[in-house]
């Protein structure tokens, strides 16, 4: 009777594959967990990224459901006088015009020396509260907004207390529950530099079709927020919301046309966009950051796949007897190969499912980290949890199953091609077919050369100014694989060197003998180590270089005595400013030698957003001591009488906009474009979007804006910064006043905190590499079990065999380490001079963290020896014929 193909496969699956997994649950679980960790790293980063981007949804979406359009000024904010003009322009059009003002605020410090970034940032949304009930999405919430406001049953009178009391605030249900706030509760905040105590007048009604309002969202009546933020008569944007109708899109298109037609093209007064455009631009802002994270997480998956390969290969070794029997019974090599591939795919599937669960858990932790970074560098967000996303899960699943099937391809081929006679002869170690590829030194060298050539290629430029160093990433892969392949050859060298030492120890000679003609498995293990060590050490070099550069930059930059900002300004996304009355009072202090009033605005040059900074440029030169990449040719740029048409740009700006000294930039202002010439380029690590510095006076002239972002003060000799700091804090408790030494320490602390994740990645890399080595050792020793039995029969003790295995592991690890460290130097260079420079536009000073690299080497050696020792002990007691 000839069994059908499917029946054979079913039998193979249950009697051949599944039985093995069941009999060795620990190693099965280990393999699954390794894959799961790889998938989890990938999936959690993807989910966290997605949540951070999704968190950018306009906060107003929670109220408007979704606006059809957004109208904003080309630069800066809008005057509220535009509102009646828009209504008149749109005539009878049934559109809700929703004026919006946004700001940020933080609670006051609990203690004077509270660390920076330790307080939560609230997002304050100023909306025309009574008009909200006109929105279709809020019709059912009409009483929700004001039913709880005030103390009267009279819903109309319910408006009065809210509208009259400028300190009225609506909070989310989440915040009310979390902080046990009730209607009437006080809520103390710093808004701009004003310490204010708001009064909770209601809970933001929940729209069932929208996510619940986040805890950090506060809603105030728009004119009240205008007053509190010193922005009387100003708006951030106007959102346009149409009623639900099948003709909604068509009507909006007609209205948009009307708005655009009324906008003078030479000096546009407004920009009309859609919420999707806004999300898109936010998404583009963080694109490079997210892509880098994704690629890092994919590397984790890649290392995981190395292990799947090694694990499956080990399984082939252990089941070779059975394969021979099956082949003798007439099972075709194709059927065996298919069974292996199904098994590999099943490992991918199960490992991935485990990984999805782990990844989802990991995402909850990662999202806070990603959210915090996005908040600090890009825009305010309220992300504190990452939702499970089936699309991302499907991507991870497909990736894991395909990759694990591919990883199983070679072992499957080996299994299928194993001649029954070879196994029957129990010839001990076999030639590992993959070894041919891995022993090809020329292939390794070729890959390394290809990688070198690719380093000359420029980054891929994405919309919105983001750059992706694709070629550099491919270089990294080429070098990792190339060095991995090449590494096998060093193994033989080490073996021979060891042999040449003629050490009089059976154990040691036994260990060295296996390396003189390393098997394919040895080479694979070394390649895995090269990959893990190279990446880990490369990352350490990058972080070390970053750290060194930042220390230098921070020391140079913070040369003045006192740095002042709103105590509510904790992040780059903060919109807290210092009102003119306050900063003018501060800079009038007789203790001051000089003061620099910094103002900045986000501007768009073409489609790309960057920062325009109003600054006293001579003060910048004297107290920030910029490191010049292109030094100004003369002192005109520092002379307020001669620098009206000059500007300085940061390195990131120059990279992003591909400009150099002498180039002209056209800056959009409310009165049209103004041209400035680049006088110099300085290195700056403050932001990746780039900065364009102009003289303060120009900034004031062009933007009629007097709100300051920060103040930098230089004191006359003999005055104590600490004393003045205390004096200013007492007079203006809403100001954050920092001495340069404090700020230097905090800046470094925050910087190091953001790199904490890389240490975790480094650790994962080492663990994975060592486990991979243990797998390999197990496979090798399993193959040699007959030899081991012979050696035991000849009188070798179990511990001696274990020591031999430990040494073999250590020597293999040494080969991996040598090449891995070499790769790490190359990768460190690549990360610093290509990937980092191309992505962020920052030039870093190279630092070689020798101590960290030594510790890493010792850790790898120790782990590899221990793994070898334990596997050796285990193998020494294996009977020649016993199944695992």
């Amino acid at each position: 009777m000839v069994a059908s193909n499917n029946t054979v496969l079913r039998i193979l699956w249950s009697r051949f594959a599944w039985r093995h997994w069941r009999l060795s649950p620990v190693s099965s679980l280990l393999l699954l967990m390794i894959l799961a960790v790889g998938v989890a790293a990938f999936f959690s980063i993807r989910l966290a990224n997605r949540a951070a981007v999704a968190s950018f949804q306009n906060f107003t979406d929670l109220i408007t459901s979704q606006s059809d359009g957004l109208l904003a000024a080309p630069v800066g904010d809008l005057s509220e006088n535009i509102l009646p003009e828009l209504r008149q322009l749109l005539g009878d059009e049934p559109v809700n015009l929703v004026p919006v003002l946004e700001s940020t605020a933080v609670p006051p410090r609990r203690e004077e020396n509270e660390a920076l970034l330790s307080r939560p940032t609230f997002q304050l949304l100023g909306l025309d509260l009574p008009a909200l009930v006109n929105l279709g999405s809020q019709q059912d919430n009409g009483k929700g907004w004001f039913g709880s406001a005030g103390s009267t049953n009279d819903s109309e009178k319910g408006f009065s207390p809210v509208l009259r009391n400028q300190l009225s605030v609506f909070i989310s249900d989440t915040l009310a529950k979390r902080d046990q706030l009730k209607i009437g509760s006080p809520l103390s905040l710093i808004i701009n530099e004003h310490p204010v105590t708001l009064r909770v007048v209601g809970i933001i009604p929940n729209d069932p079709k929208q996510p619940a309002a986040p805890a950090n969202l506060l809603i105030m009546d728009l004119p009240a927020l205008q007053q509190l933020t010193d922005k009387a008569g100003r708006l951030d944007r106007v959102e346009l919301v149409l009623e639900e109708s099948p003709r909604r899109a068509e009507r909006w298109a007609a209205m948009k046309k009307k708005l655009e037609a009324a906008n003078p093209p030479n000096a546009p007064r407004w920009l009309v966009s859609s919420p999707a455009d806004r999300r898109e631009s936010a998404s583009m802002m963080t694109q490079a950051f997210r892509l880098n994270l994704t690629l890092l997480s994919m590397l984790a998956l890649l290392v995981g796949l190395y292990l799947v390969f090694q694990g499956l290969d080990g399984a082939v070794v252990r089941r070779r007897n059975e394969i021979a029997v099956l082949r003798s019974l007439g099972v075709t090599s194709r059927q065996i190969q298919t069974a292996w591939l199904v098994e590999a795919a099943a490992i991918g599937l199960v490992g991935c499912l485990l990984g999805l669960g782990l990844g989802w858990l990991g995402a909850q932790a990662a999202v806070k980290m990603v959210g915090k970074t996005v908040n600090a560098l890009y825009y305010a967000n309220s992300v504190d949890s990452a939702a499970f996303n089936f699309g991302e899960a499907a991507v991870a699943l497909i990736l894991a199953v395909i990759a694990s099937t591919l990883a199983g391809w070679r072992p499957a081929q080996i299994a299928a091609n194993t001649p029954p006679a070879q196994v029957a002869s129990r010839a001990g170690t076999t030639n590992y077919p993959g070894g041919k590829l891995l022993s090809s030194a020329s292939l390794g060298l070729a890959l390394i050369v290809v990688g070198i050539v690719l380093t000359w290629l420029p980054p891929l430029r994405l919309a919105g100014g983001a750059r992706l160093p694709v070629a550099a990433y491919v270089t990294a892969l080429c070098w990792i694989f190339g060095a991995g392949i090449f590494a096998g050859n060093t193994l033989a060298g080490i073996g021979k060197f060891f042999h040449a030492l003629k050490i009089n120890s059976l154990t040691l000679r036994l260990a060295g003998s296996h390396l003189r003609a390393p098997s394919g498995r040895h080479r694979l293990a070394v390649a895995g180590l090269v990959c893990a060590v190279g990446m880990t050490a490369g990352m350490a070099i990058l972080v070390g270089s970053f750290d060194k550069t930042m220390r230098g930059w921070i020391d140079r930059t913070f040369q003045a005595d006192l740095y002042i900002s709103s105590d509510g300004a904790q992040t780059a996304s903060s919109s807290s400013r210092i009102s003119p009355a306050t900063w003018k009072a501060v800079v009038a202090n007789p203790a001051l030698k000089e003061a620099n009033v910094i103002q900045f605005l986000e501007i768009k040059l073409g489609d790309t957003t960057t920062l325009l900074v109003g600054n006293h440029l001579a003060f910048f030169r004297d107290y920030a001591k910029p490191a010049w990449l292109s030094t100004p040719l003369n002192d005109d740029i520092f002379n307020p009488n001669r620098n009206a048409k000059l500007a300085l740009v940061s390195e990131a700006f120059a990279e992003r906009f591909r400009v150099q000294r002498g180039d002209e930039i056209k800056i959009p202002t409310p009165d049209g474009f103004r041209a400035v010439t680049i006088a110099g380029i300085f290195s700056d690590y403050g932001n990746e979007r780039g900065s364009l510095l102009i003289e303060s006076q120009q900034f004031k002239n062009w933007f009629s804006d007097e709100l300051a972002a920060s103040l930098i003060l230089a004191l006359k000799p003999g005055y104590d910064p600490e004393t003045l700091r205390a004096e200013i804090r007492t007079a203006h408790p809403g100001l954050g006043v920092f001495t340069s030494s404090y700020l230097r320490g905090e800046a470094l602390r925050i910087f190091r905190q953001t790199f904490a994740v890389t240490y975790a990645l480094e650790l994962i890399g080492i663990i994975v590499a060592v486990i991979g080595l243990a797998f390999t050792m197990a496979s090798l020793l399993w193959e040699r079990r007959t030899d081991l039995n012979t050696l035991r029969a000849l009188g070798l003790r179990r511990n001696e065999l274990a020591t031999a295995a430990a040494l073999e592991g250590a020597l293999t690890a040494t080969a991996g380490l040598l090449l891995g460290i070499a790769v790490s130097f190359a990768l460190g260079w690549l990360l610093i001079y290509r990937i980092n420079k191309q992505t962020f536009g920052w030039t870093l000073q190279t630092d070689w963290p020798w101590l960290q690299l030594s510790a890493l080497s010792l850790l790898v050696l120790a782990s590899a020896s221990s793994a070898g020792w334990f596997v050796g002990r285990w193998a020494a007691q294996l009977p020649a014929e016993r199944e695992e």
Binding site: E80, D128, N134, L163, R248
Partner: protein, 392 residues
């Protein structure tokens, strides 16, 4: 056109005569009775007020409550018929002269404007409506020197130029994205002022009184756009302008109000102030407007308001009268006349999400006792879902 102008002048003259007549002979409103303002400082309507137009078409911010109210019946060229309502409310949030901490003119906090636009297709009974609520400022305002009131994209304005010697009002309204109208309203008859000596009382409490100005019949034409399809329409409308500082007295929960345009050229305005026990308050009235705009009012002893059927609103869980029979004594003939009022559609309820005041306001047929159709009406039923006391 000349004939029309002459007629109109004659009508104006008659109206003035009628006013003088009512002021002299039927005055129950003694100025001494009426304090100048409420306890919280809002103005109270004063008997003998000298109205001046167009100023008094405009807003009176000294009073707490004001509304401009237009209802009407439209006939499209394709034989479709519609009833429409557009109401612009103003409600003061603080009495005149109160200290106002808000410096914002774009986002005021002293007045709030509520508006309703409703449309009923008389053939299908489909009723649609929308509410708008805006604070005084950039998106809602009412002029004090003429009629120019707007709320969002809705507006009611007195056109600067007269047509044939008659005023012309422009009304712009929309319901959602799919219904819009632009209507020209021109008085067919002179304006009337209800009440006694210029004061329309609603309760024994003198605070509960209003100045109540009405154009009982306005020729209407314009366009109605439904789902992108533009229809030319003509018809007749009724326009009220009422301002007060309180519309209800102690023990009252709401009112039933009716405006009837009879085919014979007369109009009828009736309101029944309802007490908490459902009884008719003695300050209820029926006002007869004859073909010459002469107003004659009768008290509740001379009319009978019967609710023959009810309709239950699931949305507000309220029972509204849906068939009303009004029997009123004609003050000219002394005979009783019967008016059976039945809505074109049962559901013409405005639930009141935005303003918090739910009511029913709908276009109705008017039949006599022989079931002969004798006119068209708008019926307003308030205080059925909840008491309006303290709100209006």
């Amino acid at each position: 056109m000349k004939i029309l102008e002459n007629n109109f002048n004659k009508q104006n003259f008659r109206c003035v005569c009628a006013l003088l007549f009512s002021m002299v002979f039927f005055s129950r409103a003694d100025a001494a009775e009426f304090p100048a303002s409420t306890a919280d400082g809002y103005a109270i309507p004063q008997p003998g007020k000298q109205f001046s137009f167009p100023r008094d078409h405009g807003s009176h911010p000294d009073f707490a409550i004001e509304w401009w109210y237009i209802t009407g019946h439209l006939f499209a060229t394709n034989d479709a018929q519609f009833g429409f309502q557009a109401t612009f409310f103003r409600r003061a949030l603080m009495p005149p002269g109160a200290t106002n901490s808000s410096a914002s003119t774009a986002f005021g906090n002293d007045q709030i404007y509520l508006a309703h636009v409703a449309l009923v297709d008389k053939t299908t009974g489909k009723f649609i409506y929308q509410e708008k609520l805006n604070r005084a400022g950039w998106d809602a305002a009412s002029a004090t020197n003429t009629l120019d009131v707007r709320n969002g994209n809705w507006s009611l304005r007195l056109a600067p130029e007269k047509i044939g010697g008659r005023e012309r009002f422009e009304l712009h309204g929309t319901v959602g994205l799919d219904a819009a109208f632009v209507l020209n309203l021109s008085p067919k008859k002179p304006m009337v002022i209800f009440g006694t000596n210029g004061v329309s009382r609603k309760a024994a409490d003198v605070n509960a009184a209003s100045h109540y100005l009405t154009y009982p019949r306005l020729a209407t034409d314009g366009t109605l756009t439904l789902a992108g399809k533009k229809l030319a329409v003509t018809g007749e409308a009724w326009m009220d302008h009422e301002f007060s500082s309180s519309q209800l007295g102690a023990g009252q929960v709401g009112w039933d109000w009716l405006s009837v345009q009879l085919f014979d050229g007369r109009e009828l305005m009736a309101y029944r102030m309802r007490r908490t026990d459902g009884a008719t308050d003695p300050f209820s009235t029926v006002a007869w407007v004859d073909a010459q705009s002469v107003v004659r009012q009768i008290g509740p002893d001379k009319f009978d308001w019967k609710m023959l059927e009810h309709w239950h609103s699931a949305k507000s869980n309220s029972d509204y009268p849906s068939l009303v029979e009004l029997t009123a004594e004609n003050p000219v003939t002394g005979k009783k006349e019967h008016f059976i009022v039945r809505p074109f559609a049962a559901d013409q309820e405005l639930v009141g999400q935005a303003g918090g005041v739910g009511y029913w306001e709908g276009a109705c047929h008017v039949w006599d006792e022989s079931q002969k159709e004798i006119g068209r009406a708008y019926l307003e039923l308030t205080g059925y879902s909840e008491s309006l006391k303290g709100k209006l």
